[in-house]
Symmetry: D2
Subunit: 361 residues, 4 copies
C-alpha cells in the first residue's frame, strides 16, 4: 500500500478522532477484573459517567457498541406486543424503529422530513389520543448522526407531562453526549442510550444506559428475554465496581482518561461551547459556498448521506477532540473536494468560517 503522508482527517460524524492520551491509556496491560485495582477503575468510570449524563441514578456500561445499548433499553423495560412511539428524524431513528419491530414491539413511527427535530406538540397530542395508555415508551433521538437534526428533549418532557401520560421516555444521545448539553435527571428521562465513539472520544466498543427509578420498576414487569443486557445483574455487581461478566477492561482505561479530560480538565461547559462555536463556523462556510444546510438550527453534525438522503448530502463531522485548525483544514478539504468534484459552489466558505472564528475567539 502506498503511504499516505501526514495525519488523516477523520471528519466523519463518528467514530471521532481519539486523543493520543486516550489511545495510550487503552494501551496498558489488562488487569484481573475481579481484583481491587479493577474495582477502583469500575467505580471511577461509573461515577464520571453519571456526571456526563447529569444523573444521580444508575448508569450501566456494556461491552458492546451503541446498537446494543438501544436493544438493552427496549428489552429491559418492555414485553412482546407493547406499543412504542417513535419519530422519523433521520436514519438512526429509522433503524431504532426497525429494531423495536423486530423485537416484537408495535412501533408507531411518526413520519418526518429528516430536517426537523421532534415536535413537542405532536408528542403531546399523540399521547393525549392514547386514552388507555397503551403506549409504553416514547423514543427520541437527541441528535441525529445522519442529519445533524437535534430535538429539544426538555420540551418533549414537558409535553409528556402536559399529556399526563405514564409512558417511559427513552432518548438516544449517541452523537450528542459530551458535545451538546444533556440532562438526564432534570429532563426526567427514563432510559438514556449513549456510546463511546463520538463526544466521549473513545474507540467504539462501549455503550451505556442511564436509568431512572421508574425504568428499573418497569424492568420488573417486562418479559422480553434478556441476560447479557439485564440491568439488575449489572447494577448489583457495579455496587463494588465489578461486572457480572468480563468487561472490556482496556476500553474502560480509555474511558477513565477521557472522563478526566472532559470533566476535570476542559470542563463540560467549555466542551459544549467549543462544539457550538465550531458548528457555527461550519454553517457559515456552508452558507457562503451557496450550499444548503440540511437541518434546522440545532444541528451539530452535517454529513454524508445515509438512508433517505444517500447521494444528496454530505456531513462535516466536528465532534469530539477537535479544534479551530482541524476544522479549518477540514473545510479547506471540503472546498477543494467540491471543486475537484465539479459541484457548483461559490468560493469563500473557508474565509467566512475563519472570520467567524477570529471574531469569536
Amino acid at each position: 500500500m502506498a503511504l499516505r503522508s501526514g495525519r488523516h482527517f477523520l471528519q466523519i460524524p463518528g467514530p471521532t478522532n481519539v486523543p493520543d492520551r486516550v489511545l495510550r491509556a487503552i494501551d496498558s496491560a489488562t488487569i484481573d477484573h475481579r481484583g481491587p485495582d479493577f474495582a477502583q477503575l469500575g467505580l471511577g468510570v461509573i461515577e464520571g459517567l453519571k456526571r456526563v449524563f447529569k444523573t444521580k441514578s444508575d448508569v450501566v456500561i456494556y461491552p458492546a457498541s451503541g446498537t446494543g445499548a438501544w436493544e438493552a433499553a427496549l428489552v429491559n423495560t418492555l414485553s412482546a406486543g407493547d406499543r412504542v412511539l417513535m419519530f422519523e428524524t433521520g436514519q438512526f431513528a429509522s433503524l431504532w424503529q426497525r429494531m423495536a419491530t423486530e423485537l416484537g414491539l408495535v412501533a408507531e413511527f411518526v413520519p418526518g422530513d429528516w430536517r426537523h427535530g421532534v415536535d413537542p406538540n405532536l408528542v403531546e397530542s399523540k399521547l393525549r389520543e392514547d386514552r388507555q395508555h397503551q403506549i409504553k415508551a416514547v423514543c427520541v433521538v437527541h441528535n441525529e448522526t445522519s442529519t445533524g437534526v437535534t430535538s429539544r428533549i426538555g420540551e418533549i418532557r414537558a409535553a409528556i407531562d402536559r399529556a399526563r401520560h405514564p409512558s417511559l421516555f427513552m432518548v438516544d444521545t449517541i452523537s450528542s453526549l459530551a458535545s451538546i448539553d444533556y440532562r438526564h435527571d432534570e429532563w426526567d428521562v427514563d432510559v438514556t442510550v449513549g456510546g463511546s465513539q463520538k463526544g466521549l472520544m473513545l474507540p467504539p466498543g462501549l455503550s451505556f444506559n442511564a436509568l431512572s427509578a421508574k425504568a428499573r420498576e418497569a424492568a420488573k414487569q417486562a418479559t422480553l428475554p434478556r441476560v447479557y443486557w439485564r440491568w439488575e445483574d449489572m447494577i448489583r455487581a457495579n455496587q463494588s465496581g465489578f461486572f457480572p461478566y468480563t468487561p472490556a477492561t482496556n476500553l474502560l482505561y480509555g474511558l477513565r482518561e477521557a472522563l478526566k479530560m472532559l470533566l476535570e480538565e476542559e470542563g463540560l461547559d467549555n466542551v459544549f461551547a467549543r462544539h457550538a462555536r465550531l458548528a457555527e463556523a461550519t454553517r457559515r462556510a456552508v452558507r457562503a459556498w451557496g450550499l444548503e444546510i440540511l437541518c434546522e438550527r440545532f444541528d451539530m453534525s452535517l454529513g454524508t448521506g445515509l438512508g433517505k438522503v444517500q447521494g444528496k448530502v454530505f456531513r462535516i463531522g466536528h465532534l469530539g477532540d477537535f479544534n479551530e485548525l482541524m476544522l479549518a483544514g477540514t473545510l479547506c478539504g471540503v472546498e477543494m473536494g467540491l471543486a475537484a468534484g465539479g459541484v457548483p459552489f461559490k468560493q469563500g466558505g473557508v474565509q467566512k468560517a475563519l472570520d467567524y472564528l477570529a471574531a469569536s475567539s
Copy 2:
C-alpha cells in the same frame, strides 16, 4: 497508591497477558468503519479466525464479551420452550445453563463432579432416550475455565452421530481456542462460541460464533427475539468486510496482530505444543508439592475456586502469551505463597517443573 515495582504476573486463567505488539496495534487511530481500509481489516480478521476455528464456514465477530456470544448461539437457533441438553463440568457450564433457562429454554442439566469432562456415552444414551427429538441442542464447554476440565469434542460428536439424533451441537471454546487443538468442521460442530481474552491474547471485548450450514438453517425457524446478535445481518455485511453496526475497530486491530503471531509466526501446532508442555510442567510442580490436581488429564488451566469449589482450589493460569521463565516465576510465587499462607505442602515443586522443562526443551 504505592508503586509496585516490576512487571505484574497476571496468571489468572484469563484475561491473559496481552503481548506488547497487540497492545500497540490497538493503540492506533480509529478509522472509518465504512471505508476501504476497514474492509481490508474486516476481511482479513474473519479469514484468520476461520483458520483458528478450523472451519470453512462462517465466523461472526461481536463487539461483546464471551457471555454475549453464548447468548448469540442460543437466540439465533432456538425458540421459547425448546429443550437443550447441558452438562455440569464446572462453573461456566452452570452459568450457561442458567442463561438458557432465563431465555425461556428448558435446560436439562446433567450433574457432574467438576473433575471430569462430558462422558460421550452419557450423551449417546440421553439422546437415544429422546425418541421424539425434543432436544434441540447439546451444549458442551470444551475447556472449563473454572476447573481445567477438558471434554473430548470429537468423541461427543461421534456419540451424537451414533444416536442418530438431529440435535444441534454447540461448544464453548472460550478458554481453549488457540491453546488446545479445536476443529469446528471436522467435529461437525454447529455453533462454536469463542472469546478474545484467553488464547487469542487480546483484551476482553470481542467474542465469536463459528457456524455450520445446519445452524444457519435452524436460525430461519428460531423465534427468540434478536437484533444485535442476529447472524444473517452480520454475514451479509461481512461479505464485503463490513459490519451491520459500529464494530470495535481498535480491538480488531489487535485481533489482526494476534492472528499474525499465532498463524504466521508461531504456528498453531507450536502454540498447542507450548501450552501442553507448560501445562505438564505445572502439573509436575503441583504433584511434587503434594497437592491434588482437581481435574483429569486433559486440563489446561488450574485456578482459584469459583462456584462449588470456592475456597478449596486455586488455579494457575498459563494460557496465551507465555513462556518457560514466566511459568517458573509463577510457580515460585505459588510456592512462596503456600509457605506464607501456612498451607501444608512439600517443597520441590518448582524443581520438578524445571527438571521437566529442561528435559523437554
Copy 3:
C-alpha cells in the same frame, strides 16, 4: 493546566510531527545492544540511511542531537589552528561558525544577507585566493532552518573543483535531509551532517555523519581530541551492526520505521515532490497576503525569526510527515493570527494555496 482540545499543529521548522507509527515503534521494549536482534537493527538502519544520504560510503549514527554531529564533523577531520571557510546564510550557519572558533579553528566567515544561498563563484574565488591551501574545509548549510535559504551543493562542488583546491567539503543537511533531494556521493561531499527530527520524522536525539574516503583519511592526521565522536570506533563496531558504546536503541526502532515509510512506502522522489508542492502552496499564500518571502526560490521552510531576523519574520514549517489539509489548517491559523495580531495583510492567502493545491493534485 486547562486542556487544549484537539491535535496540536506543530508547524515549527523542527522537530516536525512524528507519525504515530514511528512513536509506536519507539514504544517497544529495549533490547540487549550486544545481541543478534540488535545487530539486525543496526545493520538495517545504517543501510537505509545510506540510501537517504545517497552514498555507498560510511554513515555513522550518534546518540546526540544535531549540534553533536556538527562537532563530530569538525573534531574528526581538523586540528587546532586549521582554517575553515564558512558562509553566513542564516542563524545556524552562524552557530556552526561560532562552534568552529570555540574548538580552536580559524573560521573565515563570509558575510551574507540571510536571503541568499552560498554563491558558487564566491567559493571559487575564495579558494583560488588561498594559494597555499591553508583552508582545510569549506562548510555549507544546505537548507537554513532559520530562513529557508537553500544553497546549491552541486554547483558549490563544481566551484571547488574548478579552483583545484584540496579542501574538504562539509554540508549541514539537518533541515533538508529527506525533504529536498541530496546526493552525498554524486556531489562528492566529504562530511554530511544530518539529524533525526526534521525530514526523518523522528524525535530529536539521533544525529549523523556521512563520510567520504578522503574524510576518513583526513581523520588520521587530525589532532583535535575526540572519543565520543570518533568515527573509526563507530565504523569498526558498525561492521557487525553494533556500536562502541550504548546506542539510543529505542530511537533506532523509530528510525527503522521512518526509513521504511520513506524508502519503501512513499519513496524518496515522492517525498521530495510532496515537500516541493506544499512549499509552493505556502509561498502563494504568503504572496497573496502581501507579505514578503524572506528567501530566494529554493526555500523549504519559512519561520519565526532567529538571530538577526528576530521579531521581523515568522516561519511556516512544512517538513516531514505533512499533507495538504495539515498545511491548509496551518495557513488558516496564520491568517487568523495575522488578523488577531493586527498585522497589515490582504485576505486571500489561504484561497491561493487551495487553488494551487487543487490545480496541482
Copy 4:
C-alpha cells in the same frame, strides 16, 4: 523470524527493563523545545534529578549515552597534560581511563583484581605522595557494571580530605544511580556521571553530570576544547527550563515519568531496599549452586564477562524495574541454563533464593 512467545527476560545489567508507563510516556507527540510546555518539562526533570543525585547544585542533561557524560566530566574541568588518578575496579574503569588518555590527559591507573572496590587508604597515600598537587582529579566508578564491585564513595572522600589534597573528585554512578544510595553533596563529589538506562529505568540516550561549585570554577581554567559538552551554556539555558541545542524531548518525557515513580510513588529508600533484598537473594542462589561470587560484599549486579573476565563469569542483572517473581524466573532460567550447558553445579539455588525472599518479605 520465528515468534518467541511470552515476555523476554532482559536480565543484562543494563539497559534494564523499561516500565510500560515510561515507554508510553515517551510515545507522546514531540513538542516545541522553545515553548512554555517544554520549559515546565525541563525545570521539572532537572529538579527531580537533583533529588536523585542528592544535590542542591547543578545537574546537566545530555542527549547522549553515558560515555558522553564521562567525556563531559573530563573536558569541562581539565587541560591537555593534566594528571588524573584512576583505579582498575573493572571493565568500565578501564574504558574511562583509556578515554582520559586519548583526550590528552595523563592517567595514573592503579591496578586492581576486579573483585574489590577502591581502597580509601590507597587513595590517601597516593595523594599524600603528590606533594606538588599535580593530580587534578580522582576518578572512581561507584558500582562496576562489569563485576558488581562497589566502592565506598564516602570513605574515599574522607581519604582525600585527610590527604588535604585539592584534587577534584569524579564518580561514575551509571549503574548505581537510583539503585544504591548515592549522595553527591554529602560526599562532596565534584562531578558525578550518570546515565538513563539502568536504575532510572529509561532507554539509553540521556546522560548526566551533577556538579559542584568547585567543578564549575575549574571549568573556567580548563582548556580542553568543548562545545556540545560545555556546562556553562547548559546551566544558563536550564535556568528557564530550556537547552542550548535541541534536547531529546521524548526521552525527557520518559525521565519525568520515571522520576515520578522513583521519588513520589515508590520512594528512593524503598527502591534501595528492594535492590538490596533482590541482590541478597541472588547471592544466596549463586552460593547454593556452588558457584563463586566474583565481587565483594557491596556488589549490585553479577554479569557476563567483559574484558579481563570474558568467558569466565556471567552476570545476573537485577537493576531497575524488577520484583521477586521476575528474579525467581531469572534464577530458574540460570539453573536450567547451567544444566543445559553442562556446567558443574549443585541444584537448589532457586530454593535458597525463595527461602530468603519468603523469610524477608
